[in-house]
């Protein structure tokens, strides 16, 4: 099992450009999440999904959109990139139920917006 994979690993964008980050998981997890990690701020939840076809906003959703057309994939889109979106983006997934509803993280996508 590959677990959680993310594409691309690194990207440089110019202000105003758009891009899509892809997250894929092969663990048949129901829940998927997108986080951003910034120095000194830990990880902050951008958007999440509790199942195929559903999405919801996290704590920092502005400037991002997401889609979950297939259970195993969760896409994060930036319609018009801004320098403030320079960050490392992590995708995570988790299964349903039980106290150990633990999130499994991908390796991250490093994004630089100039």
């Amino acid at each position: 099992n590959a677990g959680v994979t993310q594409t691309p690993k690194f990207r440089v964008l110019k202000t105003g450009q758009s891009m899509t980050l892809l997250c894929a998981q092969d663990m048949n997890h129901e829940y998927m999440y997108w986080y951003r990690q910034d120095p000194g701020m830990g990880l902050r939840l951008i958007h999440y999904s509790v199942g195929e076809g559903t999405t919801a906003k996290g704590e920092v959703p502005d400037g991002y959109n997401v889609s979950r057309l297939k259970k195993q994939n969760f896409l994060l889109g930036l319609e018009s990139a801004a320098p403030s979106q320079t960050s490392v983006y992590f995708c995570a997934s988790s299964y349903v139920g039980g106290e150990k509803e633990t999130q499994y993280f991908g390796p991250g996508t490093r994004l630089l917006v100039l």
Partner: protein
């Protein structure tokens, strides 16, 4: 608003020593407290976790101590090794209405274990 406060920001420990990282939370709706370990260029990975009705959990060299009344919990790494050098995040979980759970992370502690 930082709901999970973590300290110290960085920590240097000698090989064989004990590393201690502390976290404090405010929201009593949190129901699960995991610790994640992150190596450079990698995603966070679950290290150990505890429920709030348990005061201590030990897995190998890693121990979580939990004080519910004080809303504090800490990670102890016994016999610290150079391979433990990484960034450690505490987190607190809250169930989301409609399903899923939300992890609120501390700001991280960069641990370096020196020979």
């Amino acid at each position: 608003q930082q709901q999970v406060k973590q300290s110290p920001q960085s920590l240097i420990v000698q090989k064989g020593g004990i590393s201690i990282i502390n976290c404090a939370y405010e929201n009593t709706a949190f129901d699960y407290f995991p610790w994640y370990q992150q190596f450079p260029g990698k995603g966070p990975a679950l290290l150990i976790a505890i429920r709030p009705d348990v005061s201590e959990k030990k897995e190998g060299r890693f121990t979580i101590s939990f004080n519910k009344s004080a809303k504090q919990f800490s990670l102890h790494i016994m016999d610290s090794q150079p391979g433990d050098s990484a960034t450690y995040f505490c987190a607190a979980r809250r169930k989301l209405t409609g399903g899923g759970n939300k992890l609120t992370f501390g700001t991280g502690t960069q641990l370096k274990v020196e020979l």
